[in-house]
Symmetry: C2
Subunit: 349 residues, 2 copies
DNA sequence: CTGTTAGCGCTTTCAT
DNA sequence: ATGAAAGCGCTAACAG
């Protein structure tokens, strides 16, 4: 016979409310009965049904997390922060992998809502107007991590992408590089594509460096994309003469590094490379990749903290907006400074 | 007012059973009413509560997955296979990160059972007798992936670790390496530690090669462990004279590779290295890592398939055991063949 | 084809 | 401090 609350109550010779009480507010039960019930629970290996619990109490102690792909490297790092915060607040996680695809994204939201999550952390694609409308009707608070919404009405935690890219390129410029190529993400990606590209152009502009179409290639953030894009860039290098490269992701930076190697070029002696993300692999390649670090863990943590606050009801309107967390340039081995004479000589030509 | 099945029924002027029917077996409802109900559902943006559904029907269409750490690299690859299979069977996933820790592992099982998952895929630590007893009392089928149980009574999908390690080392031997070092996992790890170590010793034995204590170092599978272990190995290399290394994980192999580089040694010219796992990073480092591939995706897929079969009830006792999936050596750039003369000359000494 | 009704396993008043 | 009873939102006979 199945073991449910009723069964436990019978065996312990108490009412089911008493059993419920020892589970939820033991201090309301006499020590003696409490002991007895606990004993029976132990013996029967009773596991209260969270379904029934949630249905009855309207609380599930669970938050939903929507991510683009479990296989995206950054997810690992983000998850750590989410996990820490969730445990700290005694909540649980329901994860949904939306595969970076709109249909699965909306399905993800309903999947979670139907399971009565109390709030949702969304860490996938840019939120368009259409998706925003959809989310508004959900009835549960949603916090964005590593992404943002078209009108910025949804609270978001991320780095200032434009600024971070600007800083990365400026870093290269400060080290004497005046011809800088870029491997960008797709420009129709408003989170990490267009933004990082703009940061690149702004930095060039700021330092009165010319922008060359032939110095930019595009890719989908993966290793192979970086390798292919670099090949395109290298083909025109006789004209462009670039000495440094800014890649919109670590994976692409590493792919580009390999491509350079395949062409007999060495990094950073011949070409300096800076990446973006500071994934753990950035530290595993040789040369170790200099890159822009995103505080993934902190972003996950803050997002959860804010979500929990929103669930508790004390959400201030002023919170609704983008929160920028500090990025940082991690200096490793893939960028070299050019000697002053070298710079001068090259500029003279 | 909240929108539940009752509300939908009222607005559509039908009974709640009719609403329930259009959701679960629409063919039993007249087209006219069906339309009307669907319409209302749409307008009200009604989302059926999966909690109530599961509670009432005893079916949740959900399987639980317990993994050691989301941040473990292999999880990404395994998850892909699980995800594919789960979607194919119209199920859903509840993920639990047990952090490779016993307390959280048991908590994970109860967490999932309380949420009425219909079965569980377990992909974490070795199942001890104690844990086995615990699992047996759970009442839901459990399938193992990438791990196994002390008595092999639980159906498991994995590679034959001993054999795979044996093959890796034999591969090195066949390429003329007679002094082979190993960076092993902890020997009290019965899944990937002791097994791979044994495979190493068996291969040495088989080929009448001496086993040297100074040719083995240990680490916890991570990059840093590999780097440190390699340093230990290198310190004794004057005596041991090893020309090749077998690492029990790709991360450790890459760490070792870097360590060699730091000591002015080049791979594979001075030292050949073979890893284990074939993670995506193995293909991103230079030289690309030769390694033993585990069919993670296939393992995930098969595990789910078998689990679903077990849930449906058609489980054959004969299924309960270890299923070994084929491993494979992926030849890349980190292993060199030694010239015959070189081998002969060295052996003469 | 459709509606009525009795649960599913738990929480939560409301009495006592 | 404890129990009885009314739901929570849904499914699943059962009757018509």
């Amino acid at each position: 016979m199945k073991v449910n609350i009723k069964r436990v109550a019978q065996e312990a010779n108490v009412s089911i409310s008493t059993v419920s009480r020892v589970l939820n507010s033991p201090e309301l039960v006499s020590p003696e009965k409490r002991q007895r019930v606990l004993q029976v629970i132990q013996e029967l290996n009773y596991q209260a049904s969270e379904l029934a619990r949630g249905l009855s109490s309207k609380k599930t102690q669970t938050i939903g997390v929507i991510i683009p792909r479990v296989t995206s490297f950054f997810f690992n790092e983000l998850y750590r922060g989410i996990d820490v915060a969730v445990k700290e607040f005694g909540m649980n996680i329901l994860l949904y992998d939306c595969d970076s695809n709109l249909e699965r994204t909306t399905h993800g939201f309903t999947f979670l809502v139907r399971r009565q999550v109390e709030g949702i952390i969304y860490a996938s694609q840019f939120i368009t107007e259409e998706l925003y409308t959809f989310i508004s009707r959900l009835g549960v608070p949603v916090i964005l991590a590593l992404t943002e919404s078209f009108n910025r009405k949804l609270t978001a935690f991320k780095v200032d992408e434009v600024r971070a890219a600007f800083d990365a390129v400026s870093y290269l410029i400060a080290r004497g590089h005046h011809r800088i190529a870029m491997i960008s993400g797709p420009l129709d990606n408003f989170v990490a594509g267009k933004t990082r590209y703009e940061g690149y152009r702004m930095a060039l502009n700021q330092h009165n460096l010319p922008f060359l179409d032939d110095c930019v290639a595009f890719g989908g953030y993966r290793y192979e994309d970086g390798h292919r894009a670099m090949r395109e860039l290298l083909e025109k290098r006789n004209d462009t003469q670039f000495t440094a490269l800014f890649a919109a992701s670590d994976e692409m930076a590493i792919g580009a590094m390999r491509c350079a190697f395949d062409h007999g070029l060495s990094v950073p002696q011949d070409i300096s490379i800076i990446g973006f993300d500071n994934l753990s692999i950035a530290n595993m390649v040789t040369p170790k990749l200099t890159t822009v670090s995103q505080p993934f863990e902190q972003i996950g943590f803050e997002a959860v903290r804010t979500l929990i606050r929103a669930i508790s009801g004390d959400i201030h309107e002023s919170d609704s907006s983008n929160h920028y967390l500090p990025h940082q340039i991690i200096e490793r081995e893939s960028v070299a400074s050019r000697a002053i004479e070298e710079v001068a000589a090259a500029d003279e030509r």
